[in-house]
Symmetry: C2
Subunit: 123 residues, 2 copies
């Protein structure tokens, strides 16, 4: 599969809120997931599909998603960029906010081996 084929499947699954299926079918068991920022004491980097699935599950449990938009993909060799915009409420705080970010994904041997999230960590 070309990077663009994988990228299009990824975007389609994310658009249909099937992120879990994307992780199961398109990601390497050894995937590394890197955030732009992390709370004090927490790591920006998570290694392994199991840990990445758990991170996504925790995020979904802590947020109510009112609406979302997934744009792209834009490919370059074995990488591609996707843009995410979400209107969400953080359940613990009750705070509603607009989440704007871009993801840079790297493909190796037909699997996504690295995902890096780009967003502002300024207050």
């Amino acid at each position: 599969m070309s990077t663009m084929t994988i990228a299009k499947k990824y975007v389609e699954l994310c658009r249909n809120n099937q992120n879990h299926t994307a992780l199961e079918t398109l990601f390497s068991p050894d995937v590394v997931s890197v955030e732009a920022g992390a709370p004090p004491g927490a790591s920006k980097e998570v290694r392994g599909l199991k840990a990445v699935v758990e991170k996504g599950k925790q995020w979904m449990e802590a947020h109510e998603v009112h609406s979302g938009r997934v744009e792209g993909p834009w490919p370059h060799d074995d990488r591609f960029i996707v843009r995410f915009s979400y209107d969400v409420t953080n359940k613990p705080s009750g705070q509603r906010f607009q989440m704007e970010e871009a993801a840079l994904l790297t493909v190796e041997n037909d699997k996504i081996v690295r995902e890096e999230f780009f967003y502002s960590t300024e207050g």
Copy 2:
């Protein structure tokens, strides 16, 4: 300067069609610029600010820009992503098309040292 400060200046200058000023003030003399695709025989990679300025000049001469949109920046450590959407006409062919791409820029010592453009090269 933080990466975000440089990123915001970059976006502001691009929005005001001052790409030349962005190159002059924010880029390293040794910047490397990489396209997602290139015509047969041409290189995807251009090295050095002078060559990058020349590449931009040639593109501007070959295209009429009807309107454009610059979104972002989305930062992650010493890199940031910007999205470009342009409505342009290629002058030699007369063909009008929507250009959709994302750029991944890398900052080192307060200068942009690498720009990589992400877009579909499929027909």
